[in-house]
């Protein structure tokens, strides 16, 4: 950027120097505001800091006003107060017995398009450091993925790289991958979504926060050396719609690569080292370095503490000695952490880092000046009030306008679509859906992830939720699910977001865990498009209202805007993650059948609902109408039944109904157990609606005959409709799914072999390189 160092003094003496603030993504009024705050023009280092911290990604300038809604939600769960909530690196939830759990989901969408492997890998690395920074041991990850059409050439470039990156990083860290999503839709072509979730476990007393308190305390940067990685990555890659021009991965100052390369081995050392630092109690405050690197860590830490900090930038260990101070402040080199340490503990701190072979350097000191000052070669290059960088960025009330096409979209319902009537046609549709890209077997993806490491994985793919035993010496467990149907959200962002919440909630309850708290990752198009902002407003409204009804706090999350190619925004994709707790992991319920002869019940009410359904999408390529009815009271009652039935051991299998309806759920329970099923569908709806409608608040369960009375009582007590729809049949070579219609008595028959071939063949056929 500048050749000679642009010091504070020089800036004051040369007020009229032209500055490249627009190239750095700052608007005229934002630049003016910086001059006003400082009472002079910013130095180039200050400009770098403000530009990156005031970017959409770091400042939430377009979303803040909407996210406030989450602030008025209860900060209690049924198990007690949140130990940390929105505003911290990640929310921390009391799960009882002195244990707490912290979890959060974050996006890494644009980088994963530019360089799928490294983009996804560093996405996992970033969220793991967020969790670590709370004082927790990371214990599991999940990945929620969206891609363009499954057969599109670019999907063949992006998907294998993303999956290998999620696996390559997570496997090497030794974190089990316990769940996620893989969804295909044309709107994600050119703009895939990679949302990574991490969950960590800590004892209450181990909680750590990002605070630089205690005047005279030392600021230590530890982990990887700082290089030219992802300079401007945050502002360039995350704050402006990705354009192919930077597809070569080089943009930002001095043609530094915008791509970040991950080093999972260093991150593994960082985890073990940091946990030992916590155990030895030598950490006053701590923060991970993610987007915006040192600019973010120093300004956030200083704001949260005594309000002042002095940093000697020359002390930052560099991988590339040619880096300018502006670049050092913006660098997004991975696998770095910053800690605030009492002077007396510095020696011990450095010794522990040395034991783990993790470079560590004292680069600054906490002050009570209310200023963040940065020295470079004896000159002051930054002198700012840290809050103005970290928290007092611009806040926009973006214009909001319900799209003109919304009415037409909802008017164009699925009722007009031709439906199968004859048995063989229904049978054919069932096989077509089972084999479709969105409903088929995920194991081509999930077999690339280690789900066993750490030895506490109770449930993982393909179960409804991932479940982790909190520690070996307790039977306490946590369950996690993430969900979102973007087609529902497009038809009705408010209802669609509540349906995402409801599905994740239902998935957690189906395993026998009690839902406790929510994290979310809101993936949308450009906030400068009033239609997109309307979707965003509706989505946050829907999530806040839904969480209030279900009594769940939103503990944290992340917003990703500018997900669009040209004018074409992605489907609004508010991914919702729900965390649940189970007292005894031994009572968890799986989705596969267990014993032939057990009765199969359908819980909940089935309506004729096909708006946004997988059937309309796969068979007719149609998206229109309204999504399934939201009934959160019904969801809650259903969850109560599933949880109590699981605890009491009166259901031996449970599977939630969602995409693909009853047919898909029953097929999955058959295939994962190898046991057949004989269904007799309720007459009144007709077989097509009974099999493929996507009404919410439903699940199927298997109940052994000796438990049917207790089960019936449970349902009655909660007022949950329960319909006997069939019986589990034997496994073996001639195992089959037999579907009969109570009304006409018509029936059809599909062998599990044929179902399995259809279900498990799809992704390998697409992505397996011969």
């Amino acid at each position: 950027m500048t050749v000679t160092v642009d010091t504070v003094k020089y800036a004051a003496d040369n007020p009229d120097l032209e500055q490249p603030y627009r190239e750095l993504g700052l608007k005229d009024e934002e630049y003016a505001r910086i001059r006003e705050i400082l009472g002079r023009r910013p130095t180039s280092c200050e400009l770098a800091m403000y530009s990156v911290m005031w970017s959409e990604h770091c400042s939430y300038k377009s979303s803040k006003v909407h996210l406030r809604k989450f602030g008025d939600l209860p900060t209690e769960t049924s198990l007690g107060k949140l130990l940390a909530g929105i505003g911290e690196q990640a929310g921390v939830v009391d799960v009882g017995q002195g244990y707490a759990v912290t979890f959060k989901i974050e996006s890494h969408n644009h980088p994963s398009y530019v360089e799928p492997y490294q983009g996804a890998a560093t996405g996992v690395g970033g969220i793991v450091r967020d969790i670590l920074a709370m004082g927790a041991r990371p214990v599991a990850v999940m990945d929620s993925l969206r891609f363009g059409p499954a057969e599109a050439p670019d999907t063949h470039r992006v998907l294998p790289g993303v999956v290998a990156g999620v696996g390559g990083y997570g496997n090497c860290l030794g974190l089990p991958n316990v769940g996620g999503e893989v969804v295909f839709d044309p709107s994600y072509a050119g703009n895939p979504l990679v949302n990574a979730l991490c969950v960590g476990v800590l004892r209450h007393e181990d909680l750590h926060l990002a605070k630089a308190s205690g005047v005279g305390n030392q600021v230590i940067l530890y982990g990887a050396k700082t290089g030219g990685d992802g300079i401007g990555g945050v502002s360039v890659l995350a704050s402006e719609t990705f354009d192919a021009a930077s597809g070569d991965g080089t943009s930002g100052p001095a043609k530094r690569p915008s791509v970040q390369v991950g080093d999972p081995f260093m991150e593994k050392l960082l985890i073990e080292c940091t946990l030992e630092l916590f155990a030895e109690d030598v950490v006053v405050g701590i923060q991970d370095l993610g987007g915006a690197g040192l600019s973010c860590a120093t300004s956030e830490l200083a704001s949260a503490g005594e309000g002042g900090m002095r940093v000697w930038l020359d002390r930052v260990p560099l991988r590339d000695s040619s880096l300018a101070p502006e670049e050092i402040l913006m660098s997004e080199s991975q696998e770095r952490m910053m800690a605030v340490v009492a002077p007396g503990d510095v020696e011990k701190f450095l010794a522990i880092c040395a034991k783990w072979d993790v470079p560590a350097t004292v680069i600054g000191e906490v002050e009570d000046t209310g200023r963040l000052t940065v020295e470079w070669q004896g000159h002051t290059v930054v002198d700012v009030p840290p809050r103005t960088v970290a928290h007092e960025g611009p806040v926009y009330e973006r214009p909001v306008l319900r799209p003109l096409w919304q009415d037409d979209l909802q008017a164009d319902g699925p009722d007009v679509l031709a439906r199968p009537v004859l048995e063989e046609d229904i049978r054919a549709v069932l096989l077509q859906l089972v084999a479709s890209a969105n409903l088929s077997d995920r194991s081509w993806v999930t077999d690339q992830y280690d789900r066993y490491v750490l030895g506490n994985t109770v449930l993982a793919q393909p179960e409804d939720a991932g479940m982790i035993r909190v520690s070996e010496d307790t039977s306490l467990g946590v369950a996690l699910a993430t969900d979102c149907n973007g087609r529902y959200a497009k038809l009705d962002p408010y209802a669609g977001t509540q349906l995402a919440l409801a599905e994740a909630y239902r998935n957690v309850a189906a395993t026998g865990a009690r839902p406790l708290a929510v994290t979310d990752c809101l993936n949308f198009g450009s906030p400068e498009d009033p239609g997109v902002m309307w979707q965003f407003g509706q989505a946050t409204e829907g999530l806040a209202d839904g969480c209030r009804t279900l009594g769940l706090p939103v503990t944290g999350g992340n917003v990703s805007f500018y997900n669009q190619t040209g004018e074409q925004a992605i489907l609004p994709t508010p991914v919702v993650g729900v965390l649940g707790v189970i007292d005894d992991v031994a009572t968890r319920v799986r989705h596969g059948w267990r014993t032939p002869g057990a009765e199969i019940y359908l819980l909940g009410t089935t309506r004729e609902e096909f708006g946004g359904s997988e059937w309309a999408h796969v068979v007719h390529g149609h998206l229109g109408g309204t999504p399934p009815t939201v009934d959160l009271d019904a969801e809650r009652a259903l969850a109560d039944v599933l949880i109590e039935a699981g605890r009491a051991g009166v259901v031996e299998a449970a599977h939630d109904l969602s995409d693909g309806g009853l047919a898909q759920a029953v097929v999955e329970s058959c295939l994962s157990s190898g046991l057949g099923a004989r269904l007799t569908l309720p007459a009144e709806l007709g077989p097509f609606v009974a099999l493929f409608s996507e009404s919410s608040a439903r699940a199927v369960v298997a109940v052994r005959t000796q438990d049917k009375q207790r089960f019936a009582d449970l349902c009655a007590a909660r007022g949950v409709p329960s319909t006997l729809i069939g019986v589990v049949e034997a496994g073996g070579d001639d195992a089959a799914l037999v579907v009969g219609d109570g009304g006409t008595g018509a029936r059809f028959h599909v062998s599990l072999a044929e179902l399995r071939a259809a279900w498990s063949g799809t992704l390998p056929a697409l992505y397996e390189q011969s």
């Binding site: 530019v114 360089e115 490294q118 990887a224 290089g227 030219g228 990685d229 597809g247 070569d248 991965g249 530094r256 690569p257 791509v259 390369v261 080093d263 081995f265 260093m266 991988r319 590339d320 080199s333 991975q334 072979d357």
Partner: protein, 87 residues
Amino acid sequence: MARVVVDVMPKRAILDPQGRAVVGALGRLGFAGISDVRQGKRFELEVEGDLTEERLAELRRAAETLLANTVIEDFTVRVETVGAEPA
């Protein structure tokens, strides 16, 4: 029948964890005075027919599209001249 060698190396500005691991190990093994190591890939292609300029250009395209990830790697393409014999 000719042999074309494509060398693919991580870009200078890009982190090279492999190289870093090797430098560390060499140091621990007592091999001193090695200040930096970069680890990349080497492809040996056996090409039929003779190597016209077009052919080489085509192979360069192949290297660019398939063998190297030009977002993070540089590559060179050259016709193999009998190099140093195996140590």
